[in-house]
């Protein structure tokens, strides 16, 4: 490594950061001597100390400059700290509070509304109507099945009323089956499906409902089993008040 120049030595003196230069100083007596001379010169200059000043120096300075300093004009208070601003702020805050309370009340009322409807006495009525309709339907179906069970193959006069009653019951049966499916009652749904097949056969028998057809249906459709199912289902339905079914089904019962 070449000898260090003065600038490098000065940088080393102030930064104390230069491993290569420091290593060189350890090896090169000429640079080390030059560096020692630099240190001595700069150390001499450290001795230039300012004359001391006592604790009262600040007061002395202040007394000298105070007469020449203007006074800062007092800053005007922000508008919201002035009396009028305070009033406006208060009014705005009150308005906001009232609006918030009104809105909260509306929200609360809205949330409470469904609960109010749920506890109305009239609410169970549709369910009751459905129950009554099902009960009537099962009554009529039971009577139809009893008539079919005891139908005489030679009694041709019975065929036409059975077919008419079956057609009438088909619509109600579909509605009841739909309700049963919605209500999640598989036993009722299955029974009404079975009943639906029988009613369809009775209502739409090709060539009319004759003695042979009635006999076939009694055998194939297991009307006895179906009658038993209907009776069981009827027993599950709560008792209705006398005369109510007439009001609900238009007096057909």
């Amino acid at each position: 490594m070449n000898h260090l120049n003065e600038e490098q030595l000065i940088e080393l003196y102030y930064s104390h950061d230069g491993p290569e230069a420091a290593r060189h100083l350890g090896e090169c007596t000429q640079c080390a001597r030059t560096y020692a001379s630099l240190q001595a010169d700069l150390a001499d200059l450290k001795s230039i100390d300012p004359p001391p000043r006592d604790d009262s120096y600040g007061e002395h300075v202040w007394r000298a400059i105070a007469p020449r300093l203007p006074v800062y004009p007092a800053r005007p208070k922000p508008w919201f700290r002035q009396p009028l601003g305070l009033g406006l702020c208060s009014a705005a805050a009150c308005t906001l509070l009232v609006a918030a309370a009104f809105y909260a009340g509306r929200v609360w009322e809205h949330r409470q509304a469904p609960h109010t409807v749920a506890v109305r006495p009239a609410a169970p009525a549709p369910q009751r109507v459905v129950v009554v309709l099902l009960s009537d339907h099962l009554d009529r179906s039971e009577r139809l099945l009893v008539q079919l069970k005891h139908a005489n193959a030679d009694d041709t006069g019975l065929a036409s009323p059975l077919r008419d009653e079956a057609r009438s019951l088909l619509v109600a049966n579909r509605k009841c089956r739909q309700d049963a499916e919605h209500a999640g009652d598989p036993a009722l749904t299955h029974a009404l499906d079975h009943l639906n097949q029988l009613l369809s056969e009775l209502a739409n028998q090709p060539g009319g409902l004759n003695a042979a057809a009635i006999a076939r249906l009694q055998n194939e459709m297991n009307t006895d089993g179906l009658l038993f199912e209907v009776r069981v289902l009827r027993s599950r339905i709560p008792n209705r008040q006398p005369g109510q079914n007439r009001r609900l089904d238009g007096g057909k019962a």
Partner: protein, 189 residues
């Protein structure tokens, strides 16, 4: 910055001029030290201290709350001192010439201790101080900040509003010039 400094500044800006006295009392001695080192004489340093605090007072509205008041007024003092020695550059050059003649008087062959030796030491000190006047204002200020106040090159560059490399070069030139002057003193003594 201390909470009290910030509160004091707010009080001054709110119209309480006397509150500024507390800031002056707290920072005036450190401002004097840097002013003296840059100007090199007591009278100029006194003027710089007053000038710095007056300038600081007038700029107080622009003072940023997150800054340190001590550092802020220190920088103002550096600028005031630099301005002052720049303005009096002609007088300083005359002072250096006078000092040369003083330096010539240092040639004392007799090294016997006593009043003469004391006088010699004083005159050597005066010579060293006068050597500072061979520097340009920028070199002198940069050197003082680096050598006396241990400021980093970045701090010097920031205070003098120059590039860091320019600050470094100013310090190097100052050291070179001072060593040349001190070499003359060694030869003469």
């Amino acid at each position: 910055m201390g909470q009290s400094d910030q509160a004091t500044i707010q009080a001054v800006l709110a119209g309480n001029k006397d509150a500024y006295a507390a800031l002056v009392a707290q920072h005036s001695r450190s401002v004097f030290r840097v002013a003296y080192r840059i100007t090199g004489n007591e009278a100029d340093a006194e003027e710089v201290v007053q000038d710095a605090f007056m300038r600081g007072y007038r700029k107080l509205e622009g003072f940023e709350a997150r800054s340190d008041f001590g550092t802020w007024i220190y920088r103002i003092a550096i600028h005031c001192a630099l301005d002052r020695i720049t303005r009096s550059a002609e007088r300083n050059s005359r002072f250096v010439t006078d000092s040369d003649s003083e330096a010539d008087a240092v040639q004392l062959p007799d090294r016997t201790p006593g009043p003469e030796q004391v006088l010699l030491s004083r005159e050597i000190g005066a010579f060293r101080e006068s050597a500072m006047h061979c520097l340009t204002p920028l070199e002198r200020t940069a050197f003082m900040l680096r050598h006396m106040d241990d400021c980093s090159m970045e701090e010097i560059a920031s205070a003098l509003e120059i590039a860091p490399n320019a600050a470094k070069q100013a310090v190097y030139r100052a050291v070179q010039k001072l060593r040349q002057r001190l070499a003359l003193l060694k030869v003469k003594t």
